[in-house]
Point group: C2
Chain length 217, copies 2
């Protein structure tokens, strides 16, 4: 199909598609004339993926580019996939000067207390936790006693079940890990806010109020 | 203290402080001379909060402004707080044209299946879930069977314990809800990625490998 047809099929404007082509997020079409190229369903699927990463996933163009490069050329070993996927996501998420900084004392203390085995060279993942803890302190918000452990236990339970489902074949695994990380994150946050609203309604309504009929998840 | 001292104490450049003053994120100091003002510990605490919202919290300046306005002037009733807090956060997070759009069929179906009681007028919260579901579809990522229910149950459990801890006094409650939402979100995401790494290491290491000694969370 022509670029105008690709635009119509994907609901992405031609100018935006041209931008993705220029930045390499989208691969070139098959040249059919000096100023004309032919695009196929592979381009359409890729466009949807780009839109998902930039839209719901909330990635920058740079981070999306890194994620797509990793998807196109995944590492061979199972465990490395996760590191590569997270690295691709971190590339756009953390301030440049903080990347690979080895200074994350609170994160280290918690990870040791929980007995989590994290690659000692992977400072980015630890910095993410350190930044979040620093944010709580800067905002003057101290989670109630036991809440850090509760959050950690909840995420550990989810992660264990998620990792069990990772496909064995490296390209599929990479896709699963990257998309499962970046696209499930907004899902979890949306669910948490809705669940808070539901919990609040249950708590603030009396037993006779309509909300009392709310069932379990 | 003078603005230069406030900058030194907060580690925020003078030009940035002036920007926060101009945009109203930070309240004016007490005028002591035509071009000089005096700042106190209240300004310092506010600056830390602004930095937390913009930094770890990942909010835009507009969204942070809305959050701070709600913190300064919280609604009276307990349940409304949560709606006001989420509304303030949504203000910067969702594309303008999508706000208050009533089109969220998949979110509605899931919420009904789970029996969650969500304000029928609150389209923003439902749109957040709809967008996340749309992102999964656009990215060509289908969570394994039962995973949506598992994510929902996990978030419901967290949210129930979180809402139980909301203070009774409205200004404290607003602060708790807003900061507990925006600052705990990056914490949860950082913990999930670390937990995935830990789970992956446990899964891909044989029983004799060092990772096998990893304990529970």
């Amino acid at each position: 199909m022509r670029i105008s047809e690709l635009a119509a099929a994907s609901d992405v404007p031609v100018a935006t598609i041209k931008f993705y082509l220029r930045t390499g997020l989208l691969h070139d079409g098959r040249q059919t004339a000096p100023r004309q190229a032919d695009y196929d369903d592979g381009h359409l699927a890729r466009l949807r993926l780009i839109r998902a990463l930039l839209g719901a996933g909330g990635l920058s163009v740079a981070a999306a580019g890194e994620v797509l490069r990793q998807l196109d050329d995944p590492p061979e070993s199972g465990h490395d996939l996760l590191g590569a996927a997270h690295h691709a996501l971190d590339a756009g998420a953390q301030p440049k000067q903080e990347q690979q900084q080895a200074d994350h004392p609170r994160a280290d203390a918690l990870l040791e207390a929980w007995g989590w085995q994290i690659d000692p060279e992977d400072h980015n993942a630890r910095r993410g936790l350190e930044r979040a803890l620093q944010g709580l302190e800067d905002g003057g918000f101290e989670p109630p006693a036991g809440f850090l452990d509760m959050y950690a236990a909840a995420m550990r339970e989810l992660a264990t079940r998620e990792v069990e489902q990772v496909p064995i074949n490296p390209p599929d695994a990479m896709r699963y890990v990257v998309l499962g990380t970046v696209l499930v994150e907004p899902l979890l946050l949306a669910l948490r806010r809705l669940a808070q609203q539901d919990a609040s309604r249950r708590m603030f309504s009396g037993p006779g109020a309509p909300a009392a009929q709310s069932g379990g998840a």
